[in-house]
């Protein structure tokens, strides 16, 4: 990697680490959501470093533009407590379990990644959007169509689930 690429990698890593810690540890959900948006933008920068600009712009379009707005709506519609939903003490041992869930896969998987690196090429090759589109309509047309079907079913199902009147005997 060149020096500039190393600097950009360090910057994006810093954004991702800060955002991730903010997303899991901050007291109010809106701040957590801002941390999540920071993580998404950092990951989009990582995609740009990996020479995948189409995926990077899709990441910004879908995640920052779509999913985060959905989660904002969820925060708004769930009547958050005024002093922050996550500020009251939780059940005992919660921190211990959470730390366990963090440490065990981290140690195991990072040992695997560092000890047995895959045969890597050092410089990524950019694949244009034309070849991605050819792949989408050529060999991978079935998953492409299934995704559209899945999206339609999910939207229709969401409307159906939220439409039913609960509590009406």
């Amino acid at each position: 990697m060149d020096l500039l690429a190393k600097l950009a990698f360090a910057l994006y890593t810093l954004i991702i680490v800060t955002g991730a810690i903010m997303a899991v540890a901050s007291g109010t959900l809106v701040r957590a959501l801002l941390g999540l948006i920071g993580v998404m933008i950092g990951v989009a920068g990582m995609y740009l470093l990996l020479a995948a600009p189409f995926v990077a712009f899709m990441q910004i379009l879908i995640y920052v533009g779509g999913v985060s707005v959905l989660i904002f709506f969820a925060v708004m519609l769930t009547r958050a407590a005024p002093n922050g939903d996550e500020s009251s003490p939780g059940p005992r041992g919660r921190g211990l379990y959470a730390l366990f869930a963090l440490v065990v896969p981290a140690v195991l998987l990072s040992c695997v990644i560092v000890k047995h690196p895959a045969s890597a090429i050092s410089r990524p090759v950019e694949v244009g959007a034309v070849r991605l589109g050819e792949g989408m309509l050529g060999p991978y047309v079935l998953p492409f169509e299934l995704i559209s079907l899945l999206l339609f079913i999910a939207m229709a199902g969401a409307v159906l689930v939220a439409w039913r009147k609960w509590g009406r005997k």
């Binding site: 890593t13 899991v24 879908i62 009547r79």
Partner: protein, 106 residues
């Protein structure tokens, strides 16, 4: 050790960090929306790992990038459904804390 770290290893370590801290948040958070945020962190880490493995190894780059795009589509569908389910739970129980959703219908 610093000399032996390939770029692929570095990118995969960042993806692993996102997945593990998402798992931490999933256990740590008490509200349903906080859990959704942790799940989105994990999905982002998985996408980063897939694209890094596709771009920095001799594997098919088109397949990896399309796989990540499909993961994004599934994540969008999943977020929609989760929003509807959370709305339903809040309407039913008047809270979005996971520990208080303990009533059974009967």
């Amino acid at each position: 050790m610093g000399e032996k770290m390939t770029p692929l290893t570095l990118f995969q370590l960042v993806g692993l960090f996102l997945i593990c801290i998402g798992l931490f948040g999933l256990v740590w958070r008490r509200t349903l929306v906080g859990m959704v945020i942790a799940i989105e962190l994990m999905i982002n880490g998985a996408g980063l790992s897939i694209v890094a493995a596709a771009q920095l190894t001799p594997a098919s780059a088109v397949l990896g990038q399309l796989g990540t795009l499909f993961v994004m589509g599934i994540a969008a569908a999943e977020a929609t459904l989760i929003l509807a389910i959370v709305l339903l739970a809040v309407r039913r129980f008047n809270t979005s804390r996971a520990g208080e959703l303990s009533g059974l219908k009967g």
